[in-house]
């Protein structure tokens, strides 16, 4: 079992953190994991992405060509990564701010209106956690329990009062793909 995942969007959307929580979740699941960010000025605007490889055996390369799963949060990232999804792979995207919809016919495409859900939930910082909830619902590579344990590891203790709100956001995200 191996999954090569890319999460791509604008800097500030929580792309790297989402990958980090997913990576910690994989650690809690006792899997091998690598987390490779795009680093640099894009943290302050522009596009940011992170590659997370999760496997039950030793991972050779943290850098890959093609992805089993792509989580796409803006138009630039869709243009860049739609064609890097492996045939039969999964593309999750938020249509907010996207004007050209994905066109591939040989992959599974799931639309998640995470921005709308975030606005409805009224907690702007929960956007990435809502998306993470949708991701693990469609692609249960990591259990929700382990995602929440991972979140506890990523959040400094002084922010642990935010855990319930984040757990709620993950559950909102999971319900979004029920419909």
């Amino acid at each position: 079992m191996k999954q090569e995942i890319i999460i791509a969007g604008f800097g500030g959307q929580g792309v790297l953190s989402m990958g980090k929580i997913l990576a910690y979740g994989a650690l809690m699941n006792d899997l091998e994991v690598t987390w490779m960010p795009s680093y640099g000025p894009e943290q302050r605007g522009g596009t940011a992405n992170v590659t997370v490889v999760i496997s039950d055996t030793r991972i050779s390369s943290p850098i890959v060509d093609t992805y089993d799963v792509a989580v796409i949060l803006n138009q630039q990232s869709l243009d860049k990564f739609e064609h890097s999804v492996k045939p039969g792979g999964l593309l999750i995207y938020d249509p907010y701010g996207i004007h050209r919809m994905p066109e591939r016919k040989d992959i599974r495409i799931i639309e998640v209106k995470a921005m709308d859900a975030t606005i409805e939930y009224g907690n702007a910082k929960s956007y990435n956690m809502i998306l993470l909830g949708s991701l693990i619902k469609v692609d249960p590579i990591v259990s929700i329990d382990n995602v929440l344990k991972g979140l506890k590891k990523v959040l400094p203790e002084r922010h642990h009062h935010l855990l319930p709100a984040n757990e709620k956001a993950v559950k909102i995200g999971m319900e979004l793909v029920n419909e």
Partner: protein
């Protein structure tokens, strides 16, 4: 035994490993992509637990000279930087080598030359392995490919530096500095006491109230006859290191018709290319030098005996390839594939290069 598995960046692993090894002092100046070393040390505040000094100096030049001062007293001291900062340190590194001082220098390489980019590179291979500063000297150069090795090579680097009284360098690329993966940190151990340091380092400037002859730590020797003797002693040490400390890892070399030689994280990208090549029936092996100096010449010569060609893959214009050519001689087809300036190739680019350069497809 606390074998807790943690998830962290390579740069963070270096900081944690340094505290646990019992390092006495870290002196550095921030630069991407290695700033997390200093950041993590400052967040961990080891001065309150082990007594380790952590100091952000005013520059890289100050940092390396603080390392020189600490090392002269027998303390385990280190610095870290990235390519342009390491260039600034070269004078101090040459002085450390000439004064036979143990120290650890970490270079998390970025794309050059000049100020270049902040993205990953391996273009400081020549500088690290051939003596970046002036004079006939070598550093022991360790090239980590995993976050685990980033942690492990801190201890290994110091152990070798003290064993041979010579500075050691961890030559990492921006990828392994920035990426996170699982790591088991070394068991914490206390810093050495002053008595232990005096016993382990009888050459060090530790004070001489007990009537021994003063220890003088210097790289200056105006008598050329003596300076040549010093050089001969350095060279004897280097020959010992070459004899004892060559380290490398090989994969799938037993039946290989083609060989890839790569170091650091690039070796892992190559390994994925090799998995893909083997799925197509192309028999490729990999040698990953772990010590870039001393270089595993014999291992590469041995592995190449059954091979039709070698592809050296690096994040530079072709530097380690010179050592590979020295290892195998002129009759072997040795080709290079590299990306420069902070660009990292993906596995399929490497597989294409292998086919184009060696198989003629």
């Amino acid at each position: 035994m606390n074998q807790e598995v943690k998830l962290m960046k390579g740069n963070e692993a270096i900081a944690h490993a340094a505290i646990r090894y019992g390092v006495d002092g870290y002196f550095g100046y921030p630069i991407t992509p290695q700033s997390e070393v200093l950041e993590t040390l400052e967040a961990e505040m080891p001065w309150e637990t082990t007594g380790m000094v952590v100091l952000q100096a005013e520059s890289e030049i100050a940092s390396i000279n603080m390392v020189y001062g600490g090392a002269a007293t027998g303390k385990a001291v280190m610095t870290s930087s990235s390519s342009p900062g390491i260039s600034l340190m070269q004078e101090g590194i040459s002085y450390l080598a000439a004064s036979e001082l143990p120290a650890l220098i970490v270079n998390v390489m970025r794309g050059g030359p000049g100020l270049g980019t902040i993205h990953p590179s391996q273009s400081d291979y020549f500088q690290a392995t051939k003596g970046g500063g002036h004079g006939d000297y070598h550093l022991i150069v360790l090239a980590p490919a995993t976050v685990q090795e980033m942690a492990d090579f801190v201890g290994l680097g110091f152990d070798l530096a003290f064993k041979y009284r010579t500075p050691a360098m961890i030559l990492a690329d921006g990828i392994v500095g920035q990426m996170m993966e699982k790591v088991v940190l070394p068991e914490p151990r206390p810093r050495r006491t002053e008595e232990e340091i005096a016993r382990q380092c009888p050459w060090a400037a530790t004070g001489h109230s007990h009537g021994r002859k003063p220890n003088v730590v210097t790289s200056l020797e105006l008598d050329s006859a003596l300076m040549e003797k010093n050089n001969e002693r350095f060279q004897r040490t280097y020959r010992e290191i070459e004899k004892n400390e060559v380290r490398y890892e090989s994969y799938h070399t037993e039946d290989a018709e083609y060989l890839i030689v790569a170091f650091g994280t690039v070796a892992r990208i190559c390994l994925k290319a090799i998995e893909d090549a083997r799925a197509e029936g192309i028999k490729v092996g990999l040698i990953r030098p772990i010590t870039l100096w001393p270089f595993p010449y014999d291992a590469i010569a041995e592995a190449s005996k059954t091979c039709k060609g070698i592809l050296v893959t690096e994040l530079n214009a072709g530097q380690m390839i010179e050592d590979v050519r020295l290892a195998v001689g002129r009759n072997m087809n040795v080709r290079h594939f590299g990306r420069m300036g902070g660009i990292v190739p993906n596995p399929s680019e490497i597989l294409s290069a292998l086919k184009k350069e060696l198989i003629g497809e």
